[in-house]
Symmetry: C2
Subunit: 358 residues, 2 copies
């Protein structure tokens, strides 16, 4: 099989003959092949064991037909090296047992070393590049400083962010120290992933949709901007064509103007923004990743196909579109539906984009 | 004390000398006076006992200084009359024990009678109008058809809406029947509240932020539009100046253009949309309600005041601004902070709007 570089070319905003597609959380619980491995291993154990991480990373490439592989891992794996006591409770998501609340909590936080603390990630990436040489490109990723900081402060998932915002507004010096430590950690971590062979990087700002635009601009954007600039600069040194960076600020569609100020190559959008509007609001210098409702995989085939067509037609022949779900695939999704969605994307984008390349 | 009609005039989009303010969930757990009553009574029992509902409705008017009272109740109180088995589990929110999943489930659903099934709401409103005659205007409210339907289908709170959307896309006839039954229930319920003396109505579409704009437009907006039109028409018959309607589509700020198509008088917005942008995006024929981050009540005074000023200055002297939180007040908020916020709104809007009236 020849290497399928469709995703890589789209991430570089080259004109492509069809639209590449992958799915956030594509290596995950919706696949029985994943569940078979997960039943025997803890979640963090899987992240920390390159052979297991590699195996589940490859599953959707071989079985679902996506145009890119994304390393199986978690945005919080650097926490342990920073001195944060992270566990994943059965079915309950991450818990940090010593959350950050005070200036001295922030002071004791270390900047993680990507190799000493998360070398297993780099090992997995190196193995994956070998495994994927005749398949598809490899995506590395990290959580953005705000999302990591909010987890570290709240200690678990929340919809409220009271502690996080109270620190942000009430203790700007501690906030700056905290966000700087997370930024430094993320920069080194993403740069190491590039060194280990990740061909495209995605920065997930998963929880930034809970802050007001004025707070995003003042307390978050400067850090995200620095992270993206330093990761991009490193990619330019390591890879002649550069390493494209996708910035996904989940839930932030009503401040997509600010999100773009952070830089990068591709703006990821969730399903709350109509793609026709996204094409207007997002500067043509950026590619666009997204944005079908993840629950669309529970729709009848005709409706699912119709949703795919609407998105593809809204984008038209604009270069740099990467089809994706607007958020992670749900664990009860049917893999057969995912395969159908991917085939709809390929068939219809072939029709829509075919003329643009010939 | 003279009747404070500031809120009523703003809701009618008259120019006002200052900006009225109230808070979603202002009668609630953040107040110890509320908790004292709640500790002795079940949540639904409080909704169904006019004397208790009246007492907690009045608490924030007397103790926090809001410019409007909103009936203490719940958007789901009509469920029992519709044949849905609703309970509130301790600290866990609503549970519907016989959720809607099939066409025959939809068929067995009744349209609730506002008097037979929820007469206690009308009784509470009538008592409240008497109690409030020298105080502030009285707001009635209901949940919008989609939010009610999604609860009835999912059976509990969710972030996923898989069952709800699967029915919406997969069984359009059942969806139409379901949304029509909820629309009929809501129309009759809101009209009865107007008859009972509610001076302004608010329609809460709390969960509509989880649907894509294309789905909102096709499967939800037509029903919301009908509800608003019929409630408005009834208000015009009952009250010479009409009964203003506030439409709050939570989380829907990236499709605020569609939300406006539903009609009404005031568009409620959450805190994810910058007020400067809201003023541009929302047709001047609408008032605007919102939109400070509810967590701002955890900020230091100076930052809270600054956030208030930014919102008020973004609105300027545009008529019809009602200051509110962008979502319900959090249960751990300090009532003293709420009082301060209200005083910042009054002081600064006096300064900003004073000239517009003189």
């Amino acid at each position: 099989m020849a290497f399928n570089d469709l995703f890589l070319r789209a991430a570089r905003k080259e004109q492509t003959e069809r639209t590449p597609v992958w799915m956030m959380r594509q290596a995950g619980r919706y696949m029985e092949e994943y569940r078979a491995i997960r039943s025997k291993h803890g979640f963090l154990e899987m992240c920390r064991t390159p052979e297991l991480a590699v195996e589940v990373t490859l599953q959707p490439v071989d079985l679902v037909g996506v145009d890119a592989a994304i390393l199986f891992s978690d945005i919080l794996v650097s926490f342990t090296g920073m001195g944060l006591d992270l566990t994943f409770a059965k079915g309950e998501g991450p818990v940090i047992h010593n959350p950050i609340r005070t200036t001295s909590d922030v002071e004791r936080l270390r900047v993680a070393d990507p190799i000493d603390d998360t070398g297993y990630v780099m090992d997995a990436l190196k193995i994956l590049r070998g495994e994927l040489v005749d398949k598809v490109p490899l995506i590395g990723f990290a959580g953005a400083p705000f999302t990591l900081a909010s987890y570290a402060i709240e200690g678990q998932g929340t919809r409220d962010y009271e502690n996080c915002k109270a620190l942000m507004w009430g203790n700007p010096k501690a906030w700056d120290m905290l966000m700087t430590k997370f930024s430094d950690t993320v920069i080194a971590y993403m740069q190491a992933q590039i060194d280990a062979g990740a061909q495209v990087m995605q920065l997930f700002d998963s929880w930034v949709g809970y802050v007001a635009p004025r707070d995003y601009e003042r307390y978050i954007l400067p850090y995200t901007t620095r992270v993206i600039a330093e990761v991009k600069a490193h990619g330019d040194k390591v890879v002649p064509e550069g390493v494209p960076l996708i910035h996904f600020a989940n839930g932030a569609t009503s401040m997509i103007d600010l999100v773009q100020k952070a830089g990068g190559d591709v703006v990821g959008i969730d399903w709350r923004l109509d793609m026709k509007k996204a094409v207007e609001l997002i500067d043509p210098k950026f590619g666009i990743q997204g944005n079908i409702d993840p629950v669309a995989l529970f729709a009848p085939d005709e409706e699912l196909e119709q949703m795919v067509v609407e998105i593809l037609e809204a984008v038209g022949t604009r270069p740099g579109h990467i089809f994706n779900l607007g958020h992670g695939i749900h664990k009860t999704s049917d893999p057969e539906k995912a395969r159908k969605m991917i085939s709809y994307v390929h068939t219809h984008s072939d029709r829509i984009r075919g003329g643009a390349v010939s």
